[in-house]
Symmetry: C2
Subunit: 229 residues, 2 copies
C-alpha cells in the first residue's frame, strides 16, 4: 500500500512536471528528459510509468476530461451548475500548471498525432447534458438549440482562455468568462432564471470554498481528487 | 520593374509555402528548408527575402493584420460592416493556407518568441473602432461596454476558429460565426438594428462577390491586394 502510494505520487509528480514543460515549450519543444529532470526523477522512474512522450501527453490531455467536473454542488437553478462548472474550470486554469499544460496541448496544432478532439468533445457533452436538464426545468427559451449552444460555450470559453493567456498570462480569465456569460445567457435563459444566476467573476472561488476545496489544493490538484469528491 | 515584380512573386511564394508548412507542423516543427523546398525555390532565394525562420514567421503573422480589413464596403447600418469583416475573415480562413498558417502561429504557445499579441490587438482595435462608430449612430444599447465587447468578439471568434479546425477541419467555420453572432448581437444591438442585420453563414462569400473578389482570388490572396482595394 505504501508502495502503491509512492508510485502514485511519482506518477503525479511526472504529470505535474509534464504540464509545466508542455505549457512552456509545447509538445514538439518538450523532451522526456525535460520532464523527469524537472520532477527530480530518473529516466528509469519515468519509463516505469509512461512508455513515451506521446503516452505522457495523452494522459496530460485526459486530465481535462477526468478532473473537469468537480466539485459542482447541485443547485435549484440547473443553469447555475453549468455556470459553476465553467467558473471552477477557469479558476483552476489560472492556478494549476498541469491543467495549463493540458489545455495548451489541446490548442496546439503541431506535428503531433494527439487526439485533440477528446477534451473538447467531453466538454460539449457535459454542456449538452447540463443544458438539456436546464431545458427540462423550463429554464431556457423554447427556440434554444441546446447542441449549438453547448458547442458555442466550449468554443467561446476556449477563445477567452487563449486571449487571456496571450494578453495577461491568464490573470483576467474569470473576468472574461463573466463577460462572455453576461452576453450569452440573455439569449438562452428566460428572465426569471437569468435574474437568479450568479455570474460574478469570483464565482468559481466561492464554489470551491463552499465545497471545502481551497485554492492551495489546486497547486497542483492532489492525486485522486476526483475519486474522493 | 519586371525584376521587382519577380521578387514580389518569389516572396509571396515563400509566404504561401510558409503558411502551409506552419499550419501543418507548427513553428517548432517547421524548417526553413521545408519552406523553400515546398515553394520550389533555392536556399539562396529564401535568404534574399528573409533572414531567419523567426523573421519569416513574423511576416506570416503580420498577414492577419495587413490584409484583415478588405474589402468591407460601407453600409448604412454600421454594425453590418463589423459583421461583414468577421464573415469575410472566416470565409478566407476556410480557403487561404497562408492565413491558416498565420492564425496557427498566433494560437501556438511553443518555445518561440514571436509577438503573438499583435494580430489579436489589431483585431480588438478594429472592432473597437467599428463598435464606437455603431454606437455614435445609435445602434447599440446604452449599457454596452464597447471595449469589453470588442475583446469578447475577438476571443469568441478565435474559439470558434479553433473548435471548427479541430472538429471539422474548418469546414463549418462560417456556421459557427453565424451562431456566435446570433447569440451575441441581441445583447448589444437595439432591436431595430438587429432586425436589419444580415448574419447568415454565407454573408462573407456574398460580400466578396459584391466587391468583385472571387473565391479563386483567395487561393492564395494575390500580392498587393490590400494596396489596390
Amino acid at each position: 500500500m505504501a508502495q502503491q502510494e509512492r508510485a502514485r505520487k511519482t506518477k503525479d509528480a511526472i504529470l505535474e512536471a509534464a504540464g509545466a514543460v508542455f505549457a512552456e515549450r509545447g509538445y514538439d519543444g518538450a523532451t522526456v528528459s525535460d520532464v523527469y529532470s524537472r520532477a527530480g526523477l530518473t529516466k528509469g522512474a519515468f519509463y516505469f510509468h509512461f512508455s513515451s512522450k506521446k503516452d505522457l501527453a495523452e494522459e496530460v490531455l485526459s486530465i481535462q476530461v477526468d478532473r473537469q467536473g468537480y466539485p459542482i454542488l447541485p443547485r435549484q437553478v440547473k443553469l447555475q451548475e453549468l455556470v459553476d462548472a465553467g467558473f471552477v474550470f477557469a479558476h483552476r486554469l489560472m492556478r494549476d500548471s498541469m491543467l495549463q499544460g493540458s489545455v495548451n496541448l489541446s490548442l496546439e496544432s503541431g506535428a503531433h498525432q494527439l487526439d485533440r478532439k477528446r477534451p473538447f468533445v467531453a466538454w460539449i457533452d457535459h454542456n449538452q447534458r447540463a443544458l438539456t436538464e436546464a431545458n427540462d426545468h423550463g429554464e431556457l427559451y423554447s427556440h434554444v438549440d441546446t447542441a449549438e449552444v453547448a458547442e458555442l460555450m466550449v468554443s467561446s470559453f476556449s477563445g477567452a482562455q487563449i486571449l487571456s493567456h496571450i494578453l495577461t498570462g491568464r490573470q483576467d480569465l474569470t473576468t472574461r468568462v463573466a463577460a462572455l456569460l453576461a452576453h450569452l445567457l440573455p439569449t438562452i435563459a428566460v428572465p426569471a432564471v437569468l435574474a437568479r444566476l450568479d455570474i460574478a467573476a469570483d464565482r468559481g472561488e466561492r464554489v470551491l470554498a463552499e465545497a471545502g476545496v481551497g485554492t492551495t489544493a489546486l497547486r497542483p490538484a492532489p492525486p485522486g481528487l476526483t475519486d474522493t469528491l
